[in-house]
């Protein structure tokens, strides 16, 4: 794989440096005072963090090609509001297409007022809540706006948040938390009905044990993506109920993870309209520390409808396709960082276990200095032309980014 080829090349460079190092005569009276007088004493930063990001993206797909230059200004700060608590926020101003002089877009990425008293902690604002053990697999990680393969390799700070009010109660080792989401975010491919969604709410209990943790979940949620009613050609998102269980356990350098959820009252498209069915979702995953710098992650997930008594359909970019009772997917990732964390490489491969979809993302981040970071990301996708993601077959993309921290 290319990631290992790059690692080998870098290792070769280091080895060359090592050979030179042996020529030094180091039996000296080491004067580290002088050596480190040249290292400035860093003071803890205060005030607003500001960075600017210049990006280039190229997309090649069977239907369209595009090359886009964009510029973003990113801001973040923290404020101590005394008795009210601590306020963290981050926002960005994006110029999405410099060539077309497209208007700037402002985005409030994160806004969180946090405080605590006694054994109780609470938060209010726009942020992400982590449910489940396996990120990016929609078994229990379903509270926030959906992630896609396009977000793999992104700076985690760029992941979209959602409006929540939440609280945690710390009862010794046990932690019980709950949330209300007044404004659920749903992706719709077609016009949505109803337009107004009820709030989401849920509770979770974390129960640690030696080397691991188990968690229990119950919630009323709104789907992350709408379901298309083929009779009316409108998209629908109605609340469903979830009960779930997750656990993780470390075994030396291996972390095993498990998510399980029963989702009741999910909408599903039949030939003549939407029906409500229950579904069991499960995922198992492992994270393995291959070395001090390399990590391997792997997960497999499956969804099984508990009823299948008529033809059902999924609706994608290419239209409606027959839907099976059980679907399964996988996600593999390997990452490595190189000396001083200056260079990080990752390769992620995911898709459907039946081979109807395969996507690969190769990412590289290089810190030229504490102020300048460069990154590159390349992706490719293969899909069954007759399948749900057929229009994406053969899509390739390249993204380059330079971020300067002021």
């Amino acid at each position: 794989m290319r990631v290992f080829a790059a690692a080998t090349a870098i290792a070769a460079v280091l080895a060359a440096g090592a050979a030179g190092a042996q020529e030094f005569e180091l039996d000296l009276q080491f004067d580290e005072e002088i050596a480190f007088e040249e290292v400035p004493e860093a003071e803890p930063a205060s005030g607003m963090q500001v960075s600017t990001v210049l990006s280039f993206s190229a997309l090649r797909s069977p239907g369209s090609n595009s090359d886009t230059w964009s510029l973003a200004l990113k801001f973040a700060n923290s404020h101590d509001l005394g008795a009210l608590g601590l306020l963290d926020w981050s926002a960005s101003l994006l110029f999405p297409d410099l060539a077309a002089a497209a208007p700037a877009e402002f985005s409030l990425d994160r806004l969180m007022l946090q405080n605590s008293a006694g054994d109780l902690s609470w938060q209010l604002g726009k942020y992400r809540i982590g449910w489940g053990e396996i990120e990016g697999i929609a078994v229990l990680d379903v509270l926030n706006p959906a992630l896609s393969l396009a977000t793999v390799g992104n700076d985690s700070a760029q992941l979209p948040g959602q409006w929540f009010a939440s609280a945690e109660y710390f009862a010794g080792a046990l932690t019980v938390s709950g949330f209300v989401g007044p404004d659920p975010q749903v992706e719709h491919l077609l016009p949505a009905a109803p337009a107004r969604l009820p709030p989401e709410f849920g509770v979770k209990a974390d129960i640690p044990f030696e080397g691991g943790q188990a968690s229990l979940y119950a919630a009323r949620l709104v789907p992350q993506a709408g379901v298309v009613n083929l009779a009316t050609m409108t998209s629908s998102a109605r609340p469903y109920r979830l009960v779930g269980l997750s656990a993780h356990r470390a075994f030396g350098p291996v972390l095993l993870e498990f998510d399980l959820a029963l989702k009741s009252g999910l909408e599903r498209a039949g030939a003549t309209g939407l029906v409500l069915h229950d579904r069991l979702d499960a995922a198992v995953g492992a994270e393995i520390a291959l070395s001090n710098t390399a990590q391997l992650s792997a997960s497999v997930s499956a969804r099984r409808w508990l009823r299948q008594d008529q033809p059902y359909f999924d609706f994608g970019p290419g239209g409606a396709v027959p839907a099976g009772r059980t679907t399964s997917s996988y996600l593999l990732g390997v990452s490595n960082s190189f000396p001083n964390n200056d260079l990080n490489l990752s390769l992620n491969l995911g898709g459907a276990l039946d081979g109807s979809l395969t996507a690969a993302v190769l990412s590289a981040d290089y810190s030229l200095s504490d102020r300048l970071r460069l990154s590159a990301r390349a992706s490719a996708m293969r899909a069954d032309p007759a399948g749900l993601f057929g229009p994406f077959d053969g899509t390739r993309s390249l993204g380059l980014e330079a971020e300067f921290f002021f």
């Binding site: 280091l14 440096g17 090592a18 030179g20 190092a21 042996q22 030094f24 180091l26 000296l28 009276q29 080491f30 004067d31 580290e32 005072e33 050596a35 480190f36 290292v39 400035p40 004493e41 860093a42 003071e43 803890p44 930063a45 963090q49 601590l86 963290d88 405080n115 902690s121 942020y127 992400r128 809540i129 982590g130 449910w131 990120e135 700076d155 985690s156 992941l159 945690e168 710390f170 932690t175 080397g211 691991g212 470390a250 030396g252 350098p253 291996v254 972390l255 994270e287 520390a289 001090n292 710098t293 960082s337 000396p339 001083n340 964390n341 200056d342 200095s369 504490d370 970071r373 921290f405």
Partner: protein
């Protein structure tokens, strides 16, 4: 992200940098006794500590007889607290927060380090963007057996160990004057079992004969080639304890060095055990109150 590497930062400080000791004579001591005294003092004097450290890493070169950075160093500033716990206080709990660089500010990591080889160390990282606390695993369940880099620096867990004195044999080679101080030169050789877990076939230690702090160490590979060197400096007496405020480790293979500079260090600080829980990673208000209490004690 390789932030898991900070998990052993505080134990490193305890083990490598703070080989503290009471002043006093060292008459008629053999090498093992000297090492035991260093180790015992390291444990006893670091039961509760609070510190702010700067970690600088760069490629180095030699010019005019001086070792200097030849590239711009990468600098991280870290605030940390730790205490010993468990049977015989041989385990430790520590929590670390990054103050600098700004892009990593506020990232925290909690670590429980167990002395027993039968119990895996535990480390948790708070991923604020994902809204969850994540348990992280290291490449070995025995942190001492596999060197884990700290923030990608040259400091590793293998350089930080305390205890496990029986894993080595010791020989007092000489008593010399080093850096103006009377120092014992001790050769430390791993036992066959330990040798399978370490890169170092032999280590030479220069130990201050009165203060029982390490002044210098040279690590050798199996071919007898020196591969790493540690130098301590800026020794000061803090709260009645001799402390090297600067520790530099040089990798003689890659020509990289890392310097750990203690900007602030306080011992005997009263630390609420609740600070060493996962709550501190997620509840920022709670954590800031706890850290403010430590800072107030440190004044």
């Amino acid at each position: 992200m390789s932030l898991l590497r900070i998990s052993v930062f505080v134990p490193l400080l305890l083990g490598l940098g703070l080989m503290l000791g009471a002043t006093g004579g060292a008459a008629a001591q053999d090498a093992r006794a000297i090492m035991e005294r260093m180790d015992a003092n390291a444990r006893a004097q670091n039961d509760s500590s609070f510190s702010v450290m700067q970690l600088s890493t760069c490629r180095f070169g030699i010019s005019g007889g001086k070792v200097k950075c030849v590239s711009r160093p990468t600098i991280k500033v870290i605030e940390s607290a730790s205490f010993n716990t468990g049977p015989g206080k041989r385990d430790s709990k520590s929590i670390v927060f990054i103050l600098e660089p700004a892009a990593e500010r506020g990232i925290g990591m909690l670590s429980y380090i167990y002395d027993s080889p039968d119990k895996d160390n535990e480390t948790w990282l708070y991923l604020s963007a994902l809204g969850k606390v994540k348990r992280v695993v290291a490449s070995s369940s025995d942190a001492d057996s596999e060197p884990v880099s700290l923030f990608g620096s040259e400091f590793t867990t293998e350089d930080q160990e305390t205890g496990k004195l029986d894993d080595y044999t010791y020989r007092l080679l000489d008593t010399v004057t080093y850096g103006g101080r009377k120092a014992h030169v001790i050769e430390r050789v791993p036992t066959p079992a330990r040798a399978r877990k370490t890169r170092y076939a032999k280590t030479l230690l220069w130990v201050d004969a009165r203060r029982y702090i390490m002044l210098k160490a040279q690590m050798y590979d199996g071919r007898g080639k020196e591969i790493r060197r540690v130098i301590t400096g800026k020794v000061q007496k803090i709260n009645g304890l001799w402390v090297p405020r600067s520790i530099t480790i040089m990798n003689l293979v890659t020509n990289r060095l890392s310097n750990m500079s203690l900007k602030e260090l306080y011992f005997g600080v009263k630390i609420d055990p609740e600070l060493m829980t996962r709550r501190s990673l997620t509840d920022k208000a709670f954590r800031e109150r706890q850290l403010a209490a430590l800072r107030a004690q440190a004044r």
